[in-house]
Structures are given as structure tokens and as C-alpha cells.
């Protein structure tokens, strides 16, 4: 009950946009989880005529193979959510650990880690991701790993600088004078301080990862059997002469709308979170 109350208070502090954002994210989550029931048609086999316009049977119409687009959006939400949050959590947690370690040890370790992050930041991610995506082969797991490899630097740098400043606090000095080690300091003193920051950066990474996954898929480097939103777009764009017809109105617009809605919603939430964290609890 206590946690429910906390969450309710947290939600109350969001702005209207934030609340809308939260609503949209929850809705997409709902879509992803219950897609089996929400989609009336299968997402991989034709269920009607090719290129049907949106109507009663197919809410968002069908593609060139007669596959229901609503079903594809529903199942695609799974991939987007999985890739988005998977990458963000992996990069967020991994990056934070590296950041804490780097900030705590200082000296040569810190220098090495920081130069490594510089290196990763300087590398142009999309071409690199394309190369790596092609190299590792397209599967959702590989995509998550590749995306995480390019996003850990953001939480690492944030966390490291926070750890450096917390390390100057007298309570850490006091704890160290009692003989506190790395684990004690991390669990007791660093984590409570960096958790809010990590949360914000995880949320940001989520939207970044969703866009990146869609881009990869759009370029044809996604998992070809996964039916993500990017892949729907990829198919639609590859349909010759799509802009000469009316088909783009549902085939192209619906996945783009889905991606934009989700990413914008997450952006709203992250903006609100930042505000809440910066105005002290």
C-alpha cells in the first residue's frame, strides 16, 4: 500500500503533458502485452485483400500481402518496448556500474574509462550500428546488445561526475574513516544519490533505443522475422510507387505515428522527471 501511495504522489507531481505521456506509454505497454487478444487478425499471414483501406474489418487496413496492419502495430509494440527498455536497462545498469567504479577508483582506472567513453562518443553510432548489426546478424538480442554498446557512455559520465562530487561529501569521508569499502559506499551513499539521475538517463535512452531500432529495421538491418515498427516502414517504403497511390496514408503513417507517439510520450515523462529531481524532494 505504501508504494502505491508513493506512486500516486509521484504521478500527481507530473505536468499535464507528463500525465498524457505516461498514459500513452501505458497504452503501448498494454498493446504489447495483450496483442494476442487486441489484434483480431494474425500479424504474419494474410487475412484479407491486399492493400485494403482502413475499415470495419481491418481497422488500419492491410499491406501488399493482405496482412492486417493493426495486428502488425500491436505485435511491433512488443519489439519496440523490448528493445527500448532492454537497451536502456542494460546500458543504464552497466553504464552506472562502470561510472561508479570509475569515479570511486579515480586515478588511472578513471582516466582509461573516460578515454574509452570519449572513443565511443566520437564514433558515429548509426553507421557503426549498421556495420555491427550486419556483422552480428539480425536478431532482437543482438540489436539490444549493439544498441547498449553505444549508449552506456551517457549514464557512465553522469554517474561518474555525481560519484566524484559525492565522494567530496564529509559523510563519505566519515564512512571511509570507519573503514568502509567499495560495496558499503556504493550501496549506502552512492546509489541513493545517483538513482534519480540514472532513472532520467534510462528513460532518455529508452526513446533513443526505440528510434535507433526503428532506423536499423527501416534500413533493413533489423530482425526480418520480428515485425517491428521499423520493419513495417521498411516494407512500405520498398513498395514501388507507394507515394503515387493512397496506400501510404495507412501503411506508412500508422507505424510512424506509433513511433512518434511513443517517443514523444517518453520525452515528456523524462522532462517531468528531470524537473522533479532537480527541485529537491
Amino acid at each position: 500500500m505504501k508504494y502505491v501511495k508513493h506512486i500516486m504522489i509521484g504521478i500527481k507531481r507530473l505536468t499535464v503533458l507528463g500525465k498524457i505521456g505516461l498514459g500513452v506509454v501505458l497504452m503501448v505497454l498494454f498493446l504489447a502485452v495483450f496483442s494476442d487478444w487486441l489484434a483480431l487478425h494474425p500479424y504474419s499471414i494474410p487475412s484479407g485483400d491486399a492493400l485494403e483501406a482502413p475499415g470495419a474489418g481491418h481497422w488500419l487496413g492491410t499491406d501488399d500481402l493482405g496482412i492486417d496492419i493493426w495486428a502488425q502495430i500491436c505485435f511491433g509494440a512488443r519489439i519496440s518496448i523490448l528493445v527500448g527498455f532492454g537497451t536502456a536497462l542494460l546500458a543504464g545498469i552497466g553504464g552506472s556500474i562502470i561510472g561508479i567504479f570509475s569515479g570511486y577508483s579515480g586515478g588511472l582506472t578513471d582516466k582509461l574509462v573516460m578515454r574509452l567513453t570519449d572513443l565511443v562518443i566520437v564514433l558515429p553510432d548509426l553507421p557503426m550500428m549498421i556495420v555491427l548489426g550486419a556483422f552480428f546478424g539480425p536478431s532482437v538480442r543482438n540489436i539490444i546488445i549493439v544498441l547498449a554498446l553505444f549508449s552506456w557512455t551517457i549514464p557512465t559520465r553522469i554517474v561518474r561526475s555525481k560519484v566524484l562530487s559525492v565522494k567530496q561529501e564529509k559523510y563519505v569521508e566519515a564512512a571511509m574513516s570507519y573503514g568502509a569499502g567499495f560495496w558499503h559506499l556504493t550501496l549506502r551513499h552512492f546509489l541513493p544519490n545517483i538513482l534519480p539521475l540514472v532513472m532520467v538517463s534510462v528513460i532518455r535512452l529508452t526513446s533513443r533505443a526505440i528510434v535507433a531500432e526503428a532506423s536499423l529495421a527501416f534500413l533493413g538491418l533489423g530482425d526480418p522475422i520480428s515485425k517491428s515498427w521499423g520493419l513495417i516502414l521498411n516494407h512500405a517504403i520498398n513498395f514501388k510507387g507507394i507515394y503515387f497511390t493512397d496506400y501510404w496514408k495507412w501503411w506508412v503513417v500508422s507505424p510512424i505515428t506509433a513511433i512518434m507517439l511513443l517517443v514523444t510520450a517518453i520525452a515528456f515523462i523524462s522532462r517531468d522527471m528531470e524537473r522533479i529531481i532537480n527541485t529537491k524532494a
Binding site: 561529501e169 564529509k170 559523510y171 569521508e173 566519515a174 564512512a175 571511509m176 574513516s177 570507519y178 573503514g179 568502509a180 558499503h184 549506502r188 551513499h189 541513493p192 544519490n193 524532494a281
Partner: protein
């Protein structure tokens, strides 16, 4: 020895009532030279008066007196009562503690003194009468008073009458027992001056018994400190006052407002109750006791010329020594000497104040002493062991530091219980329940609530003063022997500051830990300091006892500081 007029050896006095025997004096030895002066000081019940009475041979009926009292070479205790009477009053006279019933209420002053003369001297008739008038003149009492009765006299006058009686037979030894108790300041001063004058003129040996340090310091050149029937320290009065070497003596001096004009008064905690005849009599109240003290009675031993102390640890021990500490920082090619050849010692149970303006290197010195930062040169010893890193801070009964800013000293994300418990958690001391009890005790000690609701509050709910006290509680759970307090009150408002400081000083007094108090506030320093170090531009420019530094600063900088204060 050949000059000694009286020699007391192994004098013990044991009072016996029906139920129990009380040992009032325990194997006390001392001697008194012709014309010299000796003071005996101690709390009430320490056996001072018993010594005097035993020397006079007045305790035969109520107590067992062992040991010898030699007058020149004559042993007095073995003499028969009749022979003894020749010495009593004739050679050794006593001025009793002033009270109404010491004098016979139905005799006039004249008759009282006359009685002494008739009994102890050869004077009779008019010669004796004349002597009475002379004596009264000698003690500064006008002749008109001699026909009055004791109850018609004031306390100061009665004291003079008693003195006149004691001097009636021109004794060679005068024992003065609490000459000034219950007298007002003026009368006190007159009596003391009178005693000094008489001592100079009559050249008798003076034995002053008092619990007032300032009386002893004016009357006696040597002093013995008594506690529980034992002599715990002996030496020249000046030295003992300036540099007491027994924890009890120090406590006595600190309780004396005349010697500590600035500081708040703090008595010695605890009651004088001797429960273990084998151990050190001061064991229960001592702040530097070790296991050995419980079982071993310390002997009075010379630790320097003219100075004897009865302590198993050889007097007040040195807790922390900083030797030739250097530390410099380099900023933009400029070298700043934050600590330049700093020497500092802190003895157990004392409050040392380090004064200096901001930027004088106080905090750097403190962090070196605590082992938080390492000096470029020099070493810090804690109880004789060199401090390396957190070797002194990461253990119980070690050294603890409390920081200036309460807001960074405690993690605002943690609950109060977590903060206070942290050192115990890190060092894995005790079970969960024991830890919690320690935490509650520490919080009670710093006068914060210790109920569940409070200790589960987060630190950011607390005010600065409360958080400073939480930080203090965290140090106290480690039961430190030395607490370094770095400007702990500078960020608090005056009322909170006063509360925190009184609390800290009270804890220091009852727990007996030593404290290094770092401040730029001279007025504050004067309130609590036993000893003072003055720091300027990274150097310790002056140090000494609080009175020395504040009353007669040697350095011009200290002078300026003190002048600004007034």
C-alpha cells in the same frame, strides 16, 4: 631530613563504629620543614581533617591510628596522654574549622584565650591578661571585643579568635583547618593575608588544609592532593596548578572559579566512594583507567624533581602527538604552506582549542591528525602508535572527527538510525539489537528523541542543529577517547550553538574523552579551553594554558585577537 620539624610516616586512620570501619587515611607520609608551608587539598571526605586530628593525637577514642608522627626525633603517637599534652598546643597548635561550637559559649573571648595561656604557659595574672590583648592585636582584633561572647562575633572575628588561641603558646607548627570556609570574600581575603603575615613574622611551619585551591595557592608553597585517604599528587603549588599530573588534581583545578575565570564550571563527575581497597581509589571517576587500575593500588612515586604522583599510568597520559607536521598545496605554481612545522600534544581528558583565522591551516591540521590526509613530513602518534590512514578512527575507543557542516556530514537520503549505526555496520560490531541499543543510547546522550518514529526519519527532515547532533551521536557510538571537533558550531545560530556546545562539554566531562576543538571564535574558546594553540599562516605561533594565553599573550597576533575580543 635534618630540617624537618615534623615527619609523618605511614599514617593511617580508621574510624570504627559498631557496624563498619571506615578508612579515612591510608598510609600517608610527608614531612614539614621548619618555617615552611604545606597545603593539603581534597574534596570533603577525603581525609584531610583526619590527618590534622591524628597529628594532634585527638583521635584515640574514635579511631585506630597507625603509623608514626615524629616531632623532631620524638615519636608522638607512642607517648602517654600526659606527655603528649606538652607538645599539643605548646609545639603543635591547630586552628579548627570555624564554627560556633568550637568556642565555649559561656566564656568570653578574653577568658577563652586566657584559659589556653594558663594551662600551657607559665604566664599568670596580669602578665597573662596583657598577653591576651597582645594576641588579639596580633590577629587584628580590637581590644574592645575581648569581653564579648562567641555568638556576638562575626565569622571572621571568631576565626581570628581561634587563631589567637592557637598562637597563644608560640607554636612551632600551626595546623590551619579550612581557615576560610563560610566566610565572605572580604573576610576570606583578610584572614588569608593575616595568615601570610603571621607565617612570615612568626616563622612557624604552616600546614593548611582546605578544599579551595586559591587559598592553598596563596598560603602554601607545596601542596598535597588527597583523595579517598590517599595522597595522589604532591609538588610545588605553582607547578601543580599550572600543570596537574593526576586526573583528580586537574578536576579540582577545573572546578575552581578563581583559577578559571573564563571557563564554565564543571565538577568531577561521580561520587567519591571507595569500594575496592586494592585498586586505585580514583578508579571509578578516572577517565584514563585501564584494567590494571582496578586491582593495583598506585604508589606515590617521583616523576620529576619535587613532584610525586600516585597513578598506575604515571599521571595524565598523552593521547595524541603531532610532530613536525608539514603539508603544502600547490595552486597554479604557487606553493601554499597549510601546515608548517606544527607540533601539538593532547593529553587524555583535556579540551584543547586550536584558534586561528580562516585559512590559517586549522582544518588541514585536523585532517592530518585524524589520518584523513597524510602529512608531507612528520608523524602523528595516537597512544604511542603511528596513525596510518584510518587506523585510529576505525575502531572503538579511538579517535573521531566531527565536521563543520552538518549538512554534508550526514547523508540526507539515509534515516537517522542508519546514519548513527553506520560505523557499527561497517565494523560489524555487535548484533542487530545491540547496535540499535547503542544507537538509541547515543541519541539520548545528544538529547535527541530515540523512539522508533524519530530514528526512522530521513536526515533531510532535520534542522542544522539536529543534524549536527546526529553526526555527534555517530561519533559517540564509537566511544572515542579523542574527539576532534572542527568548527562544529560555526554554522549554527547562537542558541543552537550554545546548546550543542554545552551538550558536548557535558558529555566530555562525564565520559572523560579528550577534545580538540577547532574554532576561530575566541569568546567560545575561552569558555571551554583547558589549553590553547594559536595558529597563524600555517604555523602554531603560541600555546599554553587558557589563562596564560588569554591573560598574557606573548605574540602580537594573539594580543591583537584578544584585544579585538574585548
Amino acid at each position: 631530613m635534618e630540617h624537618s620539624i615534623i615527619r609523618v610516616e605511614n599514617l593511617s586512620v580508621c574510624y570504627h563504629s559498631e557496624k563498619r570501619r571506615t578508612r579515612a587515611v591510608n598510609k600517608v607520609s610527608f614531612n614539614l620543614d621548619r618555617g615552611s608551608s604545606l597545603g593539603i587539598i581534597g574534596e570533603s571526605g577525603s581525609g584531610k581533617t583526619s590527618i590534622a586530628l591524628a597529628m594532634m593525637g585527638l583521635l584515640k577514642k574514635v579511631a585506630t591510628v597507625d603509623g608514626q608522627v615524629y616531632y623532631e626525633d620524638k615519636e608522638l603517637n607512642s607517648l602517654a596522654e600526659k606527655e603528649r599534652n606538652l607538645y599539643r598546643w605548646g609545639k603543635i597548635a591547630i586552628v579548627f574549622q570555624n564554627s560556633l561550637d568550637v568556642l565555649n559559649p559561656v566564656l568570653t573571648v578574653h577568658e577563652q584565650i586566657l584559659e589556653c595561656l594558663l594551662r600551657h604557659t607559665v604566664l599568670t595574672g596580669p602578665a597573662a591578661d596583657e598577653k591576651v590583648v597582645q594576641l588579639l592585636e596580633l590577629v587584628g582584633l580590637k581590644a574592645g571585643w575581648n569581653m564579648h561572647y562567641p555568638h556576638q562575633l562575626s565569622g571572621g572575628m571568631r576565626q581570628r579568635v581561634l587563631l589567637a588561641m592557637a598562637l597563644s603558646c608560640d607554636p612551632e607548627i600551626l595546623i590551619v583547618d579550612e581557615p576560610t570556609t563560610a566566610l565572605d570574600a572580604m573576610a576570606k581575603d583578610e584572614i588569608v593575608r593575616l595568615l601570610v603575615k603571621l607565617h612570615r613574622e612568626k616563622k612557624f611551619a604552616l600546614l593548611v588544609i582546605s578544599h579551595e585551591m586559591q587559598i592553598i595557592s596563596r598560603l602554601a608553597s607545596r601542596v598535597m592532593v588527597m583523595y579517598g585517604g590517599h595522597i595522589v599528587e604532591e609538588g610545588l603549588t605553582k607547578d601543580v596548578l599550572k600543570n596537574p599530573l593526576h586526573t583528580y588534581t586537574r578536576g579540582l583545578i577545573q572546578s575552581s572559579p578563581a583559577i578559571n575565570p573564563y571557563r564554565d564550571l564543571w565538577g568531577i563527575p561521580g561520587e567519591a566512594e571507595q569500594n575496592n581497597p586494592e585498586g586505585c581509589p580514583f578508579y571509578d571517576r578516572c577517565n584514563q583507567k585501564i584494567l590494571e587500575c582496578q586491582a593495583k593500588l598506585p604508589l606515590l612515586e617521583y616523576i620529576s624533581l619535587e613532584r610525586r604522583v600516585a597513578c598506575n599510568r604515571g599521571g595524565i597520559t598523552t593521547l595524541l602527538t603531532g610532530r613536525e607536521l608539514h603539508k603544502s598545496f600547490v595552486f597554479k605554481g604557487k606553493t601554499i604552506k597549510a601546515c608548517d612545522n606544527c607540533d601539538l600534544t593532547i593529553r587524555s581528558g583535556e579540551v584543547v582549542v586550536l584558534i586561528g583565522e580562516s585559512g590559517s591551516g586549522k582544518t588541514t591540521l585536523a585532517s592530518i591528525l585524524a589520518g584523513v590526509s597524510t602529512p608531507d613530513e612528520g608523524e602523528v602518534l595516537f597512544e604511542g602508535e603511528k596513525i596510518k590512514g584510518n587506523s585510529a578512527t576505525s575502531r572503538k575507543n579511538g579517535l573521531q572527527i566531527v565536521f563543520q557542516d552538518p549538512f554534508t556530514a550526514t547523508n540526507e537520503h539515509l534515516s537517522i538510525a542508519q546514519v548513527v549505526k553506520e560505523p557499527l555496520d561497517i565494523l560489524k560490531l555487535g548484533t542487530k539489537d545491540e547496535k540499535l541499543n547503542n544507537v538509541r543510547q547515543a541519541l539520548q546522550d545528544v538529547q535527541l528523541p530515540s523512539d522508533d518514529e524519530f530514528i526512522n526519519k530521513k536526515c533531510h527532515c532535520l534542522s542544522g542543529g539536529q543534524r549536527q547532533r546526529v553526526a555527534l551521536a555517530r561519533s559517540l557510538v564509537m566511544e572515542p577517547k579523542l574527539l576532534i571537533a572542527d568548527e562544529i558550531s560555526s554554522m549554527l545560530d547562537p542558541s543552537t550553538q550554545a546548546n550543542v556546545l554545552r551538550l558536548l562539554k557535558g558529555l566530555q566531562n562525564t565520559r572523560g574523552f579528550a577534545m580538540l576543538f577547532i574554532t576561530h571564535d575566541l569568546a567560545l574558546a575561552r569558555k571551554i579551553a583547558d589549553r590553547v594553540y594559536v595558529m597563524y599562516n600555517g604555523k602554531i605561533i603560541e600555546h599554553g594554558s587558557a589563562v596564560e594565553v588569554f591573560d598574557s599573550p606573548k605574540e602580537s597576533y594573539t594580543n591583537k585577537l584578544v584585544d579585538n575580543l574585548l
